[in-house]
């Protein structure tokens, strides 16, 4: 017999999507780390070195905004960098994902959104193994509260939504505009600089600060810092802001991706 087992291809759409997501995420992780989980800890290196660098250069100057404590500055810079690093990694990998799998999409019918999703998924896994434990430890040391630990996941979920939304948008646009990478590098730089990662938000002139509302990462960074570093109970307004703005971005990205989807196959 060609197949000794009966074939059960009766998976529901959601099951199939999930199975695909699982194998593609694990492919991304395996390819990236060649089977050694230690490799994942290399991904911690970048934000840690950057934190050190910022602290060495700006720490002394900006400490007065952080209760005159270098340690507080280090923690603030680190939490900001964690967010920026996750965003940069997952969105720039998502950018290429649909085009990179063009050959495959021409051979097998697959839901296209699975490719940007799997890139963000691989980064979520990496985050959970690498950064998340550090963040949780810091939060526990500062707040000693279980509520804060749990609340921390809300802005993190917002972050994943933002990355998925932007990932959809970029991977779709990249099908049409293959030079998008250069432009996106610029956008990423602007988002990075306009997020108060290594400087206190207070030093931004008011006239400029108005525009920062356009940066979806700011409410997320602020909410994470408030929950993990302030030692106070989680502020619902910050969490709400980050959740709402990220949902909007997710929805925009998803709708654009769906809207353009019909045209992708002509260009892959």
């Amino acid at each position: 017999m060609a197949s000794t087992l009966p074939t059960h291809r009766t998976l529901s759409m959601i099951q199939r999507y999930w199975e695909l997501l699982y194998v593609l995420v694990s492919r991304n992780i395996k390819v990236r780390y060649r089977g050694s989980l230690v490799g994942i800890y290399w991904s911690l290196l970048n934000p840690l070195i950057m934190t050190g660098l910022y602290t060495a250069i700006f720490g002394a100057t900006f400490a007065e905004y952080f209760n005159n404590s270098i340690v507080d500055y280090v923690l603030a810079a680190f939490t900001g960098l964690v967010v920026i690093h996750f965003f940069n990694g997952s969105t720039s990998q998502a950018l290429l994902s649909v085009v990179e799998n063009g050959v495959l999409l021409n051979k097998i019918r697959l839901p296209m959104s699975i490719f940007p999703m799997s890139m963000v998924g691989a980064n979520v896994f990496q985050f959970c193994v690498g950064m998340l434990p550090l963040l949780l430890i810091v939060t526990w040391l500062k707040s000693h509260s279980l509520i804060s630990l749990l609340a921390l996941f809300l802005p993190l979920i917002s972050l994943v939504w933002v990355c998925m939304g932007i990932g959809f948008l970029l991977s779709g646009l990249y099908v049409f505009y293959r030079d998008l990478g250069y432009f996106y590098e610029l956008v990423r730089f602007i988002l990075g600089i306009s997020s108060p990662v290594f400087y206190p938000a207070e030093i931004v002139p008011e006239a400029v600060a108005k525009f920062l509302i356009l940066n979806p990462l700011i409410p997320i960074i602020e909410s994470i810092r408030q929950i993990s570093l302030s030692g106070n109970l989680p502020e619902l307004s910050l969490i709400g802001k980050s959740l709402i703005s990220s949902l909007i971005i997710w929805f925009l990205g998803w709708s654009c991706f769906r809207w353009w989807q019909e045209q992708y196959m002509d260009l892959l």
Partner: protein, 252 residues
């Protein structure tokens, strides 16, 4: 007879290839200069009607660019027709260009599972099948080796073993393949014959007319995206050869 595939007045417009060079910079500049125009589109399938019944072995022939592979992609659901209806009953297994879905950095086992899930199986089911697939491909000793470490013949064997480890209702073959050494070729042929049983509907695209003659009962002759003729294999092949001969003589 039960009908399994039906295409009704299927039209498909696609963007032409030169659009591939479009990039953001050029688009922005051309809009700024007022020279922007909508991308050109080409009609690649024009009013295609097609009915295939269960168990039929259908061959599709035609010159390069006549839309043979495109029709298969429409039937598989990879391309959506711009207008018209497509109805397919049953599970389709595309026997795709062997190895297209492999990730060279992953091990053979991981690739088997990845490929299988993409073809619509669950992970659990693929894990049950891994042993049989490895056995057929004769790659048991290479289970944990990354695919980039295999020879091209081994990769093709692996692709064939996975793709045919199914009993689909509709089998789609784009160009005939011959895999590996002589001994393995015979093994492939034997397996193809099993897949080729009465219940399986087969759609096949090939330039090899001898093979088509042997394998198919019904032929569809495509020309410039339109169905030129449908009929019995021998009759269509004769007409097809005559027409391409006259074309040759006009070139001279």
């Amino acid at each position: 007879m039960q009908e399994v595939i039906r295409l009704e007045k299927v039209k498909l417009w696609r963007r032409t290839q030169e659009e591939f060079s479009y990039d953001l910079k050029k688009t922005v500049l051309s809009i700024a200069a007022g020279k922007y125009r909508q991308p050109a589109k080409k009609l690649v399938l024009n009013n295609v009607d097609l009915v295939v019944e269960k168990g039929e072995k259908v061959g599709i022939i035609g010159a390069n660019g006549s839309g043979k592979s495109t029709i298969l992609k429409v039937i598989c659901g990879i391309l959506k027709p711009s207008s018209g209806k497509v109805r397919v009953r049953g599970e389709i297994a595309p026997l795709i260009e062997l190895g297209a879905g492999f990730d060279p950095n992953l091990s053979v086992i991981d690739n088997i599972i990845l490929y299988g899930v993409m073809l619509g199986f669950s992970r659990w089911e693929m894990k049950q099948r891994v042993g049989l697939i490895l056995e057929f491909a004769e790659l048991e000793d290479y289970a944990l080796v990354p695919v980039k470490g295999l020879s091209s013949g081994m990769v093709a064997r692996l692709g064939f073993a996975i793709a045919t480890d199914v009993q689909p209702d509709i089998l789609i073959l784009d160009e005939v393949f011959s895999v590996g050494d002589e001994r393995f070729k015979q093994k492939c042929q034997y397996r193809m014959q099993q897949l080729w049983d009465e219940k399986t509907t087969v759609l096949l695209v090939s330039h090899d007319l001898d093979y088509v003659k042997e394998a198919c009962e019904v032929l569809i002759w495509l020309e410039k995206g339109e169905v030129r003729m449908v009929g019995g294999t021998d009759e269509i092949i004769d007409l097809y050869l005559i027409s391409s001969q006259t074309k040759k003589s006009t070139i001279k």
